[in-house]
């Protein structure tokens, strides 16, 4: 694993009016590492993702990219660095067809006009590797099922050449086969030396693919664990805070020290 993380958050805080959604959050992602981000509902996971993706800028703290501090104020900034994001709310345009959504903002051109044929061809290939069945890539997103939309949103993140891929609950709406394909995909991204941030409520998925698990609780770091040598119970305890005692804190400290 490389010495400098490709993406690092240092003391990031974010407020929404009276809600302190994130407080002094630390996070490191290395190339070729899958970081799972877990936490209860409302813990601030999606907020963290959106600050990295440039949907809303951080209030305090620094985001470092390949060791250098960067300012991510707009989605374009994050995309420019090489951060691709699958949002929990998907963020697709209902009126555009599948191809249009996949390539939105990154359209392929041919003699200055849209190259629909190549985009359509690549879309079909990409969706095939995710083994999703979509009646046609030319129907509007509005007419797809929830899981089909989710796969489109995931496929969207793979177009272009990202260095870090962020997946906010990517398998929430997926069937057994499609979930397996997405987990496969995460492993392929790791093999290609990309950094991956995976948010999930499913412990089985997390332990299956992640290298490190970061727990977020009430907008604060609540421990980072290497997946090897950590039991689900320890992670769950950190998530719920139910056994928030000296033992778990000690475990968390040790885990951070060995990282």
């Amino acid at each position: 694993m490389s010495a400098t993380p490709v993406l690092a958050l240092r003391g990031v805080s974010k407020r929404f009016g009276a809600v302190q959604a994130l407080t002094d959050v630390e996070l490191e992602v290395h190339a070729g590492e899958v970081v799972a981000l877990v936490g209860d509902n409302g813990a601030g996971k999606s907020t963290l993702v959106k600050t990295i993706a440039g949907v809303h800028p951080v209030d305090e703290g620094v985001i470092e990219w390949e060791g250098r501090p960067v300012h991510i104020n707009r989605p374009q900034d994050a995309q420019g660095l090489g951060i691709a994001t699958v949002y929990q709310d998907l963020a697709l345009c209902d009126n555009l067809d599948v191809v249009g959504n996949l390539y939105l903002g990154r359209e392929l051109l041919r003699y200055g006009s849209l190259d629909e044929v190549t985009m359509e061809k690549r879309s079909r290939e990409l969706l095939n590797t995710l083994s999703i069945r979509i009646p046609s890539v030319r129907i509007p997103i509005a007419s797809l099922s929830g899981g089909q939309r989710q796969v489109v949103a995931i496929a969207r993140a793979l177009i272009g050449e990202p260095k870090v891929v962020i997946l906010d609950e990517p398998t929430a709406a997926l069937g057994v086969e499609q979930t397996a394909q997405v987990l496969d995909l995460v492993e392929r991204l790791r093999e290609r030396r990309l950094g991956v941030i995976l948010i999930s409520h499913n412990m089985a998925d997390v332990t299956a693919v992640a290298d490190t698990v970061h727990v977020l609780r009430l907008g604060k770091n609540n421990g980072a664990f290497p997946v090897k040598g950590t039991t689900n119970e320890q992670i769950i305890a950190a998530i719920t805070g139910a056994t928030d005692n000296a033992v778990t804190r000690r475990l968390a400290r040790n885990a951070e020290a060995t990282q």
Partner: protein, 427 residues
């Protein structure tokens, strides 16, 4: 953890099939005419009405007026309709762009009136070259639209309020420009000569109309065939040759009949030629460029567009600038009809007619759905009604009431079809 690994297979063991097997639930069209009919019925039920209601409305309107006055379908009257629809049509084209964003521009008519006054005062009062004055006038329209766009996109004032303020303000500016005289006579030269009532394509030569028809039909045929062969070689679904031929023949029938009818009188008005060329260019911009794609994206979901890296504020400002530009161009067309800039320019029901045309033609008020051809179809309906009522010497009061009813009907069709599309998953 081992149960997970058995569930997942490495990708190289399951190579994705080269061509995805078709989903058995996808309704594939049957071969032949029957297939078209069943698909047509399915689309109707799903609220995908397309151009059907407009064409139906047009047939009904033409039948009624023809029964009332046998001159209605005469060649001379058809030339009239084609000539007079171009001016308002230009306003409708600009509105299509704004409607695609899901917004509205209530200032287009007053900007068009102002444009006529600006042009007249530049070219007549200040003696500026007629072509230069045209450019300056259009730039004025673009600047006005950009101002509307700025207040909407950057300050966050709702578009209908900004453009309503513009509606009043620009009318005031026009009156100020024409103060004293109340009207200015424009010279019959430069672009305004081309836009005049006696200006026809290729000087009324019979060949002109047929050349235009052939150009249109040929472009459709060649374009479709090239697209088909590219898609075929890329291995993606393509339109069967039979369907291409049917579409080409349908356009050919309409184009050549129109050419024949217009030729029986004076031919194709130049104003119409410019209008059609504008539609072709705008259609290309909206459907074939990244800029057009961005407009649809913002009209579909602002947040999704923003997260895709689209500069939403910029798109909004540019779209309102386009609308302002087309309003100014439309104003020049309307001024060309009488060679005057008057206090009446851009007043009355012009705004309603332009909005109605865009919506009647099938561009949704709710954003994200529509195309510029709706300006043509809608204008055919609107101008037919206008011309028909004029032929019957209907009072203006009646004309206003009918325009209002037609606009309401178009919006009702739009709303209902949107609701049906929602419930059948297509909006």
């Amino acid at each position: 953890m081992s149960d997970k690994t058995t569930m997942r297979q490495p990708l190289d063991e399951v190579p994705p099939p080269a061509v995805a097997p078709l989903d058995p639930r996808l309704l594939v069209r049957e071969e032949g005419l029957k297939g078209y009919l069943t698909e047509f019925k399915r689309k109707l039920k799903g609220g995908e009405l397309g151009s059907l209601p407009v064409i139906l409305a047009l047939v009904i309107i033409w039948t009624i007026f023809q029964l009332k006055d046998s001159l209605f379908l005469s060649s001379a009257n058809m030339v009239n309709i084609c000539y007079f629809m171009a001016g308002t049509g230009m306003l409708a084209v600009g509105l299509v762009f704004v409607l695609l964003l899901g917004e509205i521009d209530l200032s287009v008519a007053s900007v068009s009136g102002l444009a006529a006054a600006v042009f007249a005062s530049l070219s007549v009062t200040h003696n500026i070259n007629a072509w230069v004055a045209v450019v300056l006038t259009v730039l004025t329209g673009i600047a006005i639209g950009a101002i509307h766009g700025f207040f909407f996109a950057k300050i966050g004032v709702p578009a209908f309020v900004v453009t309503l303020a513009g509606f009043l303000g620009w009318t005031g500016l026009m009156q100020w420009l024409l103060r004293g005289t109340g009207s200015l006579t424009i010279q019959d030269k430069g672009l305004l000569h081309v836009l005049g009532q006696r200006s026809f394509f290729m000087n009324q030569s019979i060949a002109g109309a047929y050349i235009l028809a052939t150009l249109g039909v040929g472009a459709l045929l060649v374009g479709s065939l090239i697209d088909q062969s590219r898609r075929r070689s890329a291995g993606v679904p393509f339109r069967p040759t039979g369907e291409i031929l049917v579409r080409t023949v349908a356009l050919a029938v309409v184009a050549y009949v129109a050419a024949y009818v217009l030729n029986k009188s004076a031919g194709v008005p130049n104003a119409l030629v410019i209008f059609l060329a504008t539609l072709v260019i705008c259609d290309f911009v909206l459907r074939r460029t990244t800029f057009g794609r961005k407009i649809f994206a913002v009209g579909g979901s602002i947040e999704a567009a923003r997260r895709a890296g689209i500069n939403v504020a910029m798109i909004r400002i540019v779209v309102f600038a386009i609308s302002g530009g087309f309003a100014a161009i439309g104003g020049l067309f309307l001024a060309g009809q009488t060679y005057t800039a008057t206090l009446q320019a851009g007043t009355g029901n012009l705004l309603m007619l332009a909005i109605a045309a865009a919506v009647i033609g099938g561009t949704s008020l709710f954003g994200g759905r529509g195309n510029v051809w709706s300006a043509l179809l809608g204008m055919l309906v609107i101008q037919s009604i206008q011309t028909g009522l004029d032929l019957l010497n209907m009072d203006q009061s009646i004309q206003y009431m009918i325009t209002g009813a037609v606009l309401l009907a178009a919006v009702v069709v739009d709303s209902v079809s949107r609701r049906t599309q929602r419930s059948s998953g297509r909006a």
